[in-house]
Amino acid sequence: MAGLPAAAGTPRAGAAKLGTWSDHRVERVLGAVACIVLLLVAGMVVFVFVRAWPSFADNGLAWFGSGGNVDQQLIDIFNSPADPDSYVLTLRAWPLLYGTFLTTAGAVFFGLTFALFSAIFIVEFAPERLRKVLEPVVRLLAAVPSVVYGLIGILVIVPWVNGLISQERKESVAYVVQLTGTNISVAVLILTIMITPIMIAIIVDALRAVPRSWTEGAAALGVNRWRVMWTISVRTARPAIVAALVLATARALGEAIMLSMVSGSAGFAPNPIDGITFFFEPTRPLAATIVDNAEGLSVVPLGQTLYAFAAVLLVSSMFLSLGGFLAKQPMRKYGIRP
């Protein structure tokens, strides 16, 4: 809202002369344009859910459960008869949901730790000349398209990781799953590199916004520089850190192309009981599954299944933006704009 006491100060006398640019009309036109955005969002939610409904309805809550090979189920759905009454819609999406969770949570966990310390370094401890280079570099890394990260991953990291897996390890699980260089660790690694710069940028801005008098006051009391950063600045910037977390999670959740390139693209749920092998097991998150099966979108039952994946992603991202909105509130209270 502009800092203007609304209509009271607005002269309306000349409005009639201006014709098309009259005040009322402009307000209404601009408001209508703004409502287009609202309509689009509502339309998106409705359309996606209506299209996704048969898949949820056919499976019930078992949709979210495990059971059977999800890739085989997707193939069966793709090959189901053309008669609407005999569509195959059976799906147990757990491996995909679990894969989404694993890659997102892993990347966000490592990314946040790394981003927090990097941000503290950039704001407080980096030598001036290094800082001047680092800041644009971070923004540059945040802008690098995900497909470029995917390309580096699949051409550089994947062959290297493939060499790390011993032949015995590959043979030991060959009857269940094929171990290659494309696996969960590579997916988490590349995803971490992809989402960290965004978090660094937001956290750096928030740490800078901490009132100087607070940190200087602490320093004057004899608190050392690290402790000032850790106890005053980081604590004040906590809402911004949550906001960064939310943004990075949304990005990781929705990343499709890059993950379809490096995650192994197999509907397999990596099992932590497998020990070291766990880190080399392939997976495939929801978003990557949509891309991998995009050619089948015109097959009605597979389309419905893929829209169900999209619906799950949509609901998750909705909850995330709600969380981000709530997280920003405390910072406003202190009069700091995140």
């Binding site: 502009a2 607005t10 409005a15 998106m44 980096a126 690098v144 497909v147 470029v148 979108l297 829209y307």
Partner: protein, 317 residues
């Protein structure tokens, strides 16, 4: 702290408690790792890109062929990126600026304004893959048949430059709205009041005073949005058809091209990576290098615009 202060104006980390020194060490380690990773990515892409890039690649059309020496270059994907970026921005900027002005200057009724605000935030948080298949759903309706081509049984294909750029504009929209709102909020209210005092209406104030003043802000948002559009892959793969060449429809040029399918640099990189059908890493590297150069150029433009926005128009302070 009575003895040390005389000699050391700044306490040295060697006297800190162990846990603090550990934290400092972690911060340095993280910072140095960041430098190394960033340096590695930039240098690697630079070396690989310059190795593989040549003029032929930039000026020849891609051809379907099993022989790598005959698959041509990526002229069409470059044109595709250009078309999508320009059209997406052209849709996003008016929509975004109008929304931002309404939110910041009018915003009545307050409930609706809050709803629009969270709507914009939701668009920002929606994965582009979801936007892509939502776009497919819309543009396959027969109502929008004019935007793409219609197959012989009346089925609308739904994939075209028009459809893709409409969805791409949604990616850029939150950035335009954010930058424009920020610029509007940074204009002090006495500027507006001065305009009212001269007898201008609110609408006239927006048109003659505020919009000229926030132009650098709008440009920043638009450029950020262009970077996003140029870098997005999911929408291109699903909503642009990702055909190698621009496949226009026999209609009036240039509208035929816009209704047709094509590819962009991002989808070209994807298709030519080992994950795609093309599997020509050299070409993928070269295309990724060009893509990266475009994104970096846009990035510098944002910096330059932001600086100019701060210097120029001193009257808005």
């Amino acid at each position: 702290m009575t003895t040390a202060s005389a000699t050391a104006p700044r306490d040295s980390p060697s006297k800190w408690p162990l846990i603090d020194r550990l934290g400092l060490g972690m911060a340095w380690a993280a910072g140095i790792m960041l430098c190394l990773i960033a340096g590695a990515i930039v240098v690697y892409m630079l070396v690989k890109g310059l190795q593989e890039l040549n003029v032929d690649l930039l000026t020849s059309h891609p051809q379907p062929s099993l022989d790598q020496s005959k698959t041509g270059g990526f002229l069409d994907p470059m044109i595709g990126t250009l078309i999508l970026t320009v059209m997406g921005t052209l849709i996003a900027v008016p929509l975004g600026v109008a929304t931002a002005i309404w939110l910041a200057e009018y915003g009545r009724p307050a409930g609706l304004a809050r709803a629009v605000e969270s709507g914009v935030e939701m668009v920002a948080g929606t994965p582009s893959i979801v936007l892509a298949i939502f776009g497919l759903l819309i543009f396959q309706e027969s109502l929008f048949a004019a935007f793409s081509f219609t197959a012989e049984g009346g089925a609308v294909y739904g994939r075209s430059f028009l459809a893709a750029s409409a969805m791409m504009s949604l990616i850029a929209l939150p950035l335009v709205v954010g930058a424009t709102r920020e610029a509007l909020q940074s204009i002090p209210s006495h500027i507006r009041e001065a305009s009212y005092a001269l007898g201008k209406t609110k609408a006239a104030t927006i048109r003659r005073v505020l919009v000229p003043a926030i132009r650098p802000g709008i440009a920043t948002g638009a450029t950020l949005g262009m970077g996003r559009i140029a870098g997005d892959t999911a929408i291109v793969v699903i909503l642009l058809g990702a055909t190698l060449q621009l496949q226009g429809i026999d209609a009036l040029e240039p509208f035929g091209t816009l209704r047709g399918t094509g590819s962009t640099l991002t989808s070209y990189v994807y298709v030519n990576s080992p994950a795609g059908e093309g599997n020509a890493p050299e070409k993928a590297y070269a295309a990724a290098f060009v893509l990266l150069a475009i994104v970096i150029a846009l990035n510098f433009t944002v910096d330059w615009l932001a600086r100019r926005g701060k210097e120029g128009s001193a009257w808005t302070r």
